[in-house]
């Protein structure tokens, strides 16, 4: 289990990571989500041992990692753009971390079984051993390449790979030594949307199949929620909220988190009630707290209770996206507009006076 307590990393006067606490139990994937420049990659590099800590402590199963060098931590790291070794083939890249493979066929080790153990904990990374285990390594490379869906590409030069293939090789390479903890630094950010959607599914499958403990850094919330069992939201060097995706969605810690995960507007409960939103019918919205609402929280409906002026209409594949001003609270919110949705084909024009229905499922009460 990884435990980080109060860790800080500074570049000169700038605190990139500022007093962060984290805990990742074995076999879990924690996703670190935040806008670019929030310090999430720096945090990941600090865990890997690539950035010196200014304060705090990182432990693995209770062992302080401060005096454990990068190459002895047994953590894997996958970069945004792969960073494959250009002078090695695909198989050569995947095999790089396998030099500590013990004698015998690794792939035959039953899951959970006592694999060939390291008697005495001697450091096995020696070239002689590497030579002796060539067959075992080749078998493991094949297994890894099959795992990431690149079977048979072992002899390719890495320069000939596409972006998606390169990332798969990087994943296989990072998984090769069965890292205690796999660190993924925006592994899909450099790929295009459709490829990313496919790879995210594969990544989730591979992490689950191998039971890898992982820290997954990304700025894309769809990716974060898809891959991870828990999400940590980070802003300006601090963790704003940490928890399972459902919890983050249902109860964002504060306005920043709410906006980051897609709630576009935050209302005072009192203002919503004044606007005709029947909050009382819904459990979980307490008086005095604030409520965050997604665009889908207000739907065009002639029977709705909320009166609004339509300021803009934008067609999209799933329906119309409206920009509206709710009449009762428009002035209170400084004239700010609110997002709403309507079914495709609805007859609504800019300047219309409309009625909206509130959808409680698309709203959440802020924790603070």
């Amino acid at each position: 289990m990884l435990t980080a307590q109060g860790i800080s990393v500074a570049y000169g006067a700038m605190r990139a990571v500022d007093g962060v606490d984290l805990r990742i139990p074995d076999g879990c994937v924690l996703s670190l989500l935040g806008p670019s420049g929030c310090g999430k990659s720096t945090l990941l590099r600090a865990v890997a041992g690539l950035e010196p800590l200014q304060a705090g402590r990182i432990d693995w199963d209770g062992t302080d990692l401060a005096s454990v060098a990068v190459h002895r931590r047994g953590f894997g790291l996958m970069f945004q753009d792969g960073v494959l070794f250009p002078h090695r083939t695909v198989a050569g890249n995947v095999a790089y971390g396998l030099h500590r493979l013990p004698a015998g066929d690794f792939s035959a080790t039953p899951p959970g079984g006592g694999g060939p153990s390291k008697a005495g904990g001697g450091f096995p990374g020696r070239f002689g051993r590497h030579r002796r285990n060539r067959a075992a390594i080749a078998a493991r490379v094949t297994e890894l390449l099959n795992l990431v869906g690149l079977g048979g590409l072992g002899d390719r030069e890495v320069a000939t790979l596409s972006g998606g293939q390169a990332q798969r090789v990087a994943l296989a390479r990072a998984l090769g030594p069965e890292p205690r903890l796999l660190l993924l630094d925006e592994p899909l950010a450099a790929l295009d949307r459709s490829l990313r959607d496919r790879l995210v599914v594969d990544l989730r499958r591979v992490l689950a199949e191998t039971g890898t403990t992982a820290l997954y850094v990304t700025h894309d919330q769809d990716e974060a929620f898809a891959v991870a069992g828990a999400v940590a939201l980070m802003d300006a060097g601090r963790i704003r909220q940490i928890g399972p995706p459902g919890q983050v969605w249902r109860r964002p810690a504060d306005e920043w988190v709410a906006r980051f995960v897609g709630y576009e507007t935050v209302f005072d409960t009192a203002a919503l009630l004044a606007a005709g939103v029947p909050l009382g019918d819904t459990a979980g919205f307490s008086a005095g707290s604030r409520v965050a609402v997604r665009p889908a929280g207000f739907v065009l409906d002639p029977a709705g209770t909320v009166r609004a002026d339509c300021l803009g209409v934008l067609p999209g594949p799933d329906g119309l996206r409206l920009t509206v001003q709710i009449q009762a609270i428009g002035r209170q919110m400084g004239g700010r507009s609110v997002a709403a949705v309507a079914a495709l084909g609805s007859s609504v024009m800019v300047g219309d006076q409309i009625r909206l229905r509130f959808v409680p499922a698309a709203a959440a009460s802020l924790a603070s």
Binding site: S67, V83, R100, P111, A159, P177, G211
Partner: protein, 599 residues
């Protein structure tokens, strides 16, 4: 903020830490040992430089400037110490002859570098951005001159322009034109190798954007391409300038008595006038000149190395078009300029007083007409090959050790540390042998390394050490950009995969610089083989082939000059073959770093 993340792991998950050694804190001594290793890696070559470069050169300059009795004005009570230094400096600068020499040094170097750029840029376009049959062969041919010993080049051009030579009617014998022609011949490849790869890897999209915005090819070239190539162009200019400003063999042989640069004047003052004081002042002047050029160059380099990424970006190459005709014509002219003198050298070496044949080559088995040589030409050749091999291995070992410590960029967390400053200083220091007169170095060796534990005058290592000092900067300049341009995350990826620092170096750094290192070794070998300035002091008893050539052309007799031509041809062939072999080996799998290591 430490809300616990509790998620039940899947039931049958193996312990992922199975294959790893238990996590134990590293013993304290291990990082200390690692740091000590780095210090030794940087310290060994530094010690070498201190003992074999700073000490000899410093003691020669010291004796000349501070306390060596002024031989030309013995008894006049010339003052020593700092005052003597200042006075000596002033006095030398006052003399019109030395001002003329300084001016000539700078002007001919600037003119040579300018001509090289004018001729070389079209060549860089043609040979690195176009695709045509024979491109590789042409590139190899145009690279040969750079590795030729200056004595050979000087002799070839003298033969060409001599009154009875092929171009004797041009009247260039002993003129500045002959020197410029020889300098362009020697350094044409420098422009090709610096500008070519940069141009081939240039992002083409800005130029395409300019074309869509209505700029014609010429306007695009001068407003987009040339500015983007600016650092490479300036770098090439400075490099050629440096080589020409310190050129020795060419100026000595082609300049006759009339034209001299600082370097040849230092040689004359030291060996003919025995005026160490003037020689020392001129040496300091040369060091200042070279240091200024190096500082400007280092600034430029820092800008370009950032841009250089060793990602195997595909190089852009297109078939020839009609618009390439001017470039093709200029390059063809350059090829003639390169092939001509080499051809003349070869042909004339086959002409003996008794008619055509290999008589001159056979004569190399002896010691020449009137017994002008101490050893036979064959013995000198053998000595040359052996010495150069030792020197090249030394240079490569030194360069690799230095590159290890110089290539590590300071961590982002403390970018302006003391370490970074030391590193920049080191970077400049190891380049200095490029600029310090080889003559000064050679004579300094004779003066300084003659007593105590450093009495190496009789040692067979003295000569290779001097040659290694001259070759090391070139090797470093080739290897360092590759290591610095390499993505640092490659090393991090290796470390995260469990590779200790030693294995990171062996499996990442070494393969990345492998091909460049092979090329650099060949270049070091060629440079050592042809080294003339320092060698002329250190190899009097046991001369190398360039010294033999120099001695043969000083002496009269058609048999001697025939022998010189034969020896020069052999030297040219050996150098050409060594470099061509390595170049072809590197070009045959030139996907990755094929052209990344241009000097």
């Amino acid at each position: 903020m430490s809300a616990p993340v509790i998620l039940a792991p899947a039931p049958s998950i193996p312990d992922p830490a199975d294959g790893w050694a238990p996590l134990t804190a590293e013993p304290r001594w291990r990082p200390a040992l690692r740091r000590a290793g780095l210090v030794v890696a940087a310290g060994l070559p530094l010690l070498f430089f201190a003992v074999f470069f700073v000490y000899p050169v410093g003691s020669l300059l010291g004796r000349g400037l501070l306390d060596f009795p002024d031989a030309t004005r013995a008894g006049s009570g010339a003052p020593g110490g700092i005052r003597g230094f200042a006075e000596g400096f002033w006095e030398v600068l006052q003399r019109a002859r030395f001002r003329r020499i300084l001016q000539f040094t700078v002007e001919q170097a600037a003119a040579s570098a300018g001509l090289c750029l004018l001729l070389g840029v079209p060549g860089a376009h043609l040979l690195y951005r176009c695709r045509f049959r024979g491109r590789t062969a042409l590139r190899a041919l145009l690279t040969i001159p750079f590795v030729l010993p200056t004595v050979v080049v000087g002799l070839a051009f003298r033969t060409l322009f001599a009154a009875d030579g092929a171009l004797g009617s041009w009247g260039w014998d002993g003129s500045v034109w002959a020197i410029l022609a020889a300098h362009v011949f020697l350094n044409y490849a420098v422009v090709l190798r610096i500008v070519g790869p940069a141009w081939a890897r240039l992002d083409r999209r800005p130029a395409e954007a300019a074309r869509t915005l209505g700029a014609g090819p010429t306007r695009t070239l001068f407003t987009v391409v040339v500015p983007a190539l600016g650092p490479s162009l300036a770098g090439a200019f400075l490099m050629v300038f440096l080589f020409c400003a310190t050129s020795f063999g060419v100026v000595l042989i082609l300049g006759g008595g009339a034209l001299s640069t600082l370097e040849t004047e230092i040689y004359r003052q030291t060996t003919e006038q025995l005026d160490l004081r003037t020689a020392a002042v001129l040496s300091v002047l040369q060091i200042l000149l070279v240091a200024a050029v190096l500082i400007i160059g280092a600034r430029l380099r820092r800008r370009t190395e950032v841009a250089l990424r060793l990602r195997s970006t595909r190089e852009f190459r297109r078939p020839l078009r009609l618009s390439d005709l001017p470039a093709a014509l200029v390059t063809a002219g350059a090829a003639v300029l390169v092939a001509g003198p080499l051809g003349v050298l070869l042909v004339r070496s086959l002409r003996t007083p008794a008619g055509w044949g290999f008589g001159n080559y056979q004569a190399l088995g002896g010691i020449g007409e009137h017994n002008v040589l101490l050893v036979s030409g064959a013995a000198a050749l053998e000595n040359s090959l052996r010495t150069a091999a030792v020197a090249a291995s030394m240079a490569v070992a030194l360069a690799v050790l230095l590159a290890v410590s110089l290539a590590r960029r300071p961590a982002r967390t403390h970018p302006r540390s003391l370490l970074a400053g030391v590193r920049n200083g080191l970077d400049g220091l190891v380049m200095l042998p490029l600029g310090v007169s080889a003559v000064t170095l050679g004579f300094g060796f004779l003066l300084a390394l003659d007593s105590g534990p450093l009495d190496l005058r009789a040692s067979a290592l003295l000569l290779p050490i001097a040659q290694a000092l001259v070759a090391t900067p070139l090797v470093i300049r080739m290897v360092l950009p590759v290591l610095r341009g390499a993505d640092d995350r490659l090393r991090q990826a290796a470390a995260v995969l469990g590779a200790p620092p030693g294995r990171v170096w062996l499996s990442v750094d070494l393969p990345l610089m492998g091909k460049t290192l092979a090329g650099a070794s060949a270049l070091a070998y060629a440079v050592a083989l042809g080294e003339f300035g320092a060698t002329s002091f250190l190899a009097r008893q046991n001369p190398t082939l360039p010294i033999v050539i120099g001695r043969l052309i000083e002496r009269p007799g058609p048999a001697n000059s025939g022998m010189a031509l034969a020896a020069a041809t052999i030297l040219a062939l050996v150098c050409g073959c060594v470099v061509a072999a390595v170049d072809m080996a590197a070009d045959s799998h030139a996907g990755l770093s094929g052209s990344a290591g241009g000097w």
